[in-house]
Symmetry: C2
C-alpha cells in the first residue's frame, strides 16, 4: 500500500511556512499574549459598519458569494476611478500573489525581489518552481535601480516591490515608482505591493494609467481597513491581465460575508481617516519608547514601526525572544543587515503600555545574553 | 509597452469558468430569481449557533485566522475519530481540489474522472496541465470498474469519484468504495468527494482506515451545514499527504469568521439532523411534482433531485431555459446522456411552490420549441 507520488516540484519543496502564527506561539507558551503587535494587524479594528454588514451577511451564508464579485469590484473600481475590468478580488494579497506567479512564472523563469522582502512572495515563487533573484536593500530602502539591473540581467518576468516596504516601513515617493515602471525591461511586470499604502503619505502613491500593462498593484482590506481575518485583497491592472486570473482562480473562493464586509469597509472612508490618525499617534509613541531605551525608530509609512536595536541580528533575536517570553508578540526582519531591527505594529494605548514595560526588560535580558 | 507573457500553460487555457453564478444570470435577466435552487446550497440555512458565532467573530476580524487552524482541525478530528494531523482545512472543496491536483499531477500525468462529473475538478486538472481521462457513467451512476480500468491503463495519479454523485444524485454503498480502494493500481490516489455525504444514508459511508495512503476524502460545510458562502471544506487523509499541503497552500487563507462559523456548525449536530429531515421532505415533494408532470425523479442521496425530462439534451436545455426565464434558478448536467435531466436543489416549501407553478409552463414552452 503506497500513497501518491508528489510531482517532482512538490517533492522538492520544504515544509517550512512563510510565517508562524501567534496562536502557535501561544500554544507553545501555554498562555495568550498580553499584546498582539507582530502581524501588523489593525488594533483599531474594522469600521463598525463593516462589522454590522458581516453580521447581517452571516444570515445569508447559505448562499455562495457572487463568483464575479460584481458589486465589490464595481465599488473598488469607483474608488480608484477605473472600471471593474481593471479589478480582481482574491483571498488576500497572499492569494493573489500566488495566482499571479502561477500565471506568469514557471520553472526556469526569473523573478526578482529584495533580500529580506515579503517571504510569502518568495514562497509562491518557489512553489511554482521559478528562479528567485534577490538584491540587497540600500540602507533601509528597497533599491529600485538594483532591482531593475537584476531584472535586465536575468530577463525577469516579475519584479516585486512593496511600497511602503515591509519589514522596514520605509517608502519611496510615487515619482520613484513611476520612473521605475518606465525603466522596466520589455516584458517584465512590476508587482507593486501597496498593502500599507492606506497608512502612507499621499505622495507615496504613484500615478499609473489604468491600462498600463507593465504593472499590477496589490491592495488589501487587512491593514488600514482592519480586516485581516476576512481575507480580502484586490489587484489593479490592465484588463488583459485581470482576465487571465479567471483561467485558474478559485472562482467561488470569495465568500459572501467577505464581500459584504469589504464593501462596507470601503464605503466608510471616514473611519479609515480615524485609523490613520490613531496609527500616526501610535507610531510616535513607539518611537518615543524606543528613544527612551536608547534605540532609534525608523521612519514609517505603515501601521508598524521598525526599531533598530543598534547591534547585530543575534542581539535583536534575543530582544525579540525576550519580548515573546514576556507576552509581547512582535516580529523582526529575517536576514542581515535588516535583522538588527525588531518590528512593532501600531497598537492601542494599552498595548503600547505593555511595550513600554517589556522592552527595557527584554533589552536587559538580551544584553545579559 | 507590453505586458507580461503568461506561461505557455496559462496561455493555452481557455477563459471559461466552471459555473456561471446565479447573480450573473440575475444581472442578465434584470431581476432576482424567485427561487434559488440551482447551486445545491442549503435553503434551510446554517445553524443559528453558527450565525451567532460568525457575528461574534466579526468583531475580531482585525486578527488573521490561526494559519494552523488548530481548534477547527481538532474539532473535525474528534468528529471523525482521527487526529488533527489527518485533517486539512481549505477554501471549500474547490480550493482543496486545486491544491491537491497541484501537488500530485502536472504536465504529462494522467488523471481519471467520469464524463459529466464535477467540472471544477476538471478545471483544476486542466489548470495544472495534467491529462484528464473521462469514462462514461453506467446508467445514472459513476462506474467504479471502468474508472479503475482507465486508471490502470493510463497509470493515473488521481482518480476522482463523488459519492454521492453530483450531478446525478446517485450513490454507491460504502462497501463498493472500500472494494474500489483495494483495487486501485499502485501509486494512484482516490479523491473521494463526499460533499453530499451528510445527506446520504449511513450505508454510503465507507470504512476507511485513517492512515490509508490510497485515498483522500473531501468534506464541506457548504451543503448539509448550510455554509456555502463561508468557504470551508476539509480533507481527511494520511498525515504524509496532509502535511504536503503545507508546502504550497495559502497559509493564512482561512479567515477568522470562517473558522469560527465552521466550528459552531460542526458542534450543532442536532441542527444537521433537522436539515436532513427537511431535505428528505423536499426531495419527496420534488419527486411528486416531477411525477405530476409525467417526469421521473432519480433516487437521491443529496440535497438535490435530478429529474429525467424523458427526451434529449436539447429538450432538457429548453426546459431549463424556460425555468430560468420564469425566475426559477436550476441547473442541469453538461453532457449526454446525463443532459436529458435537470437538477433541482431541495428547497423551502415556498421555493417548491415556485417549482410546482413553473415546471409545467417550462415543459410546455420546451415542447413548443
Amino acid at each position: 500500500m503506497t500513497g501518491p507520488r508528489l510531482t517532482s516540484l512538490a517533492e522538492s519543496l520544504p515544509s517550512t511556512v512563510p510565517f508562524v502564527g501567534p496562536e502557535t506561539q501561544e500554544r507553545s507558551l501555554g498562555r495568550p499574549f498580553r499584546a498582539r503587535l507582530g502581524a501588523n494587524e489593525s488594533r483599531f479594528g474594522p469600521s463598525p459598519r463593516a462589522v454590522a454588514a458581516m453580521a447581517a451577511a452571516a444570515q445569508d451564508a447559505w448562499m455562495y458569494g457572487d463568483p464575479e464579485m460584481a458589486d465589490l469590484r464595481a465599488a473598488i473600481a469607483a474608488h480608484h476611478a477605473v472600471t471593474p475590468a481593471h479589478v480582481m478580488v482574491g483571498e488576500g494579497i497572499d492569494g493573489l500573489l500566488g495566482t499571479l506567479v502561477r500565471l506568469v512564472a514557471g520553472p526556469g523563469d526569473a523573478v526578482v525581489t529584495s533580500l529580506g522582502a515579503y517571504p510569502t512572495f518568495a514562497f509562491h515563487v518557489a512553489g511554482f518552481g521559478a528562479d528567485l533573484h534577490r538584491v540587497p536593500y540600500r540602507g533601509d530602502h528597497e533599491d529600485p535601480e538594483a532591482l531593475l539591473d537584476r531584472a535586465r540581467a536575468t530577463g525577469a518576468r516579475l519584479l516585486y516591490l512593496a511600497n511602503p516596504d515591509n519589514p522596514m516601513g520605509s517608502w519611496h515617493d510615487g515619482t520613484v515608482i513611476e520612473a521605475m515602471i518606465n525603466a522596466l525591461p520589455q516584458g517584465a511586470l512590476l508587482v507593486l505591493d501597496e498593502a500599507y499604502i492606506d497608512l502612507a503619505p499621499a505622495s507615496a502613491t504613484p500615478r499609473i494609467v489604468a491600462d498600463d500593462p507593465r504593472v499590477i498593484r496589490m491592495r488589501t482590506f487587512s491593514k488600514g481597513y482592519g480586516l485581516a481575518g476576512l481575507r480580502v485583497g484586490y489587484a489593479l491592472a490592465a484588463p488583459d491581465l485581470i482576465r487571465a486570473f479567471d483561467k485558474v482562480r478559485n472562482h467561488f473562493g470569495m465568500g459572501r460575508i467577505a464581500q459584504a464586509g469589504a464593501m462596507a469597509a470601503l464605503a466608510d472612508q471616514a473611519y479609515l481617516g480615524q485609523v490613520q490618525a490613531q496609527v500616526a499617534t501610535a507610531r510616535d509613541r513607539i518611537a518615543a519608547i524606543a528613544a527612551a531605551n536608547g534605540l532609534s525608530a525608523l521612519p514609517s509609512a505603515t501601521n508598524f514601526v521598525t526599531v533598530d536595536c543598534g547591534r547585530d541580528g543575534a542581539f535583536a533575536r534575543g530582544v525579540l525572544s525576550a519580548c515573546i517570553d514576556r507576552g509581547l508578540f512582535i516580529r523582526m526582519p529575517g536576514v542581515a543587515p535588516l535583522d538588527r531591527c525588531i518590528r512593532i505594529s501600531a497598537g492601542q494605548p494599552g498595548d503600547l503600555d505593555v511595550l513600554e514595560e517589556v522592552l527595557p526588560q527584554a533589552l536587559n535580558a538580551a544584553a545579559r545574553g
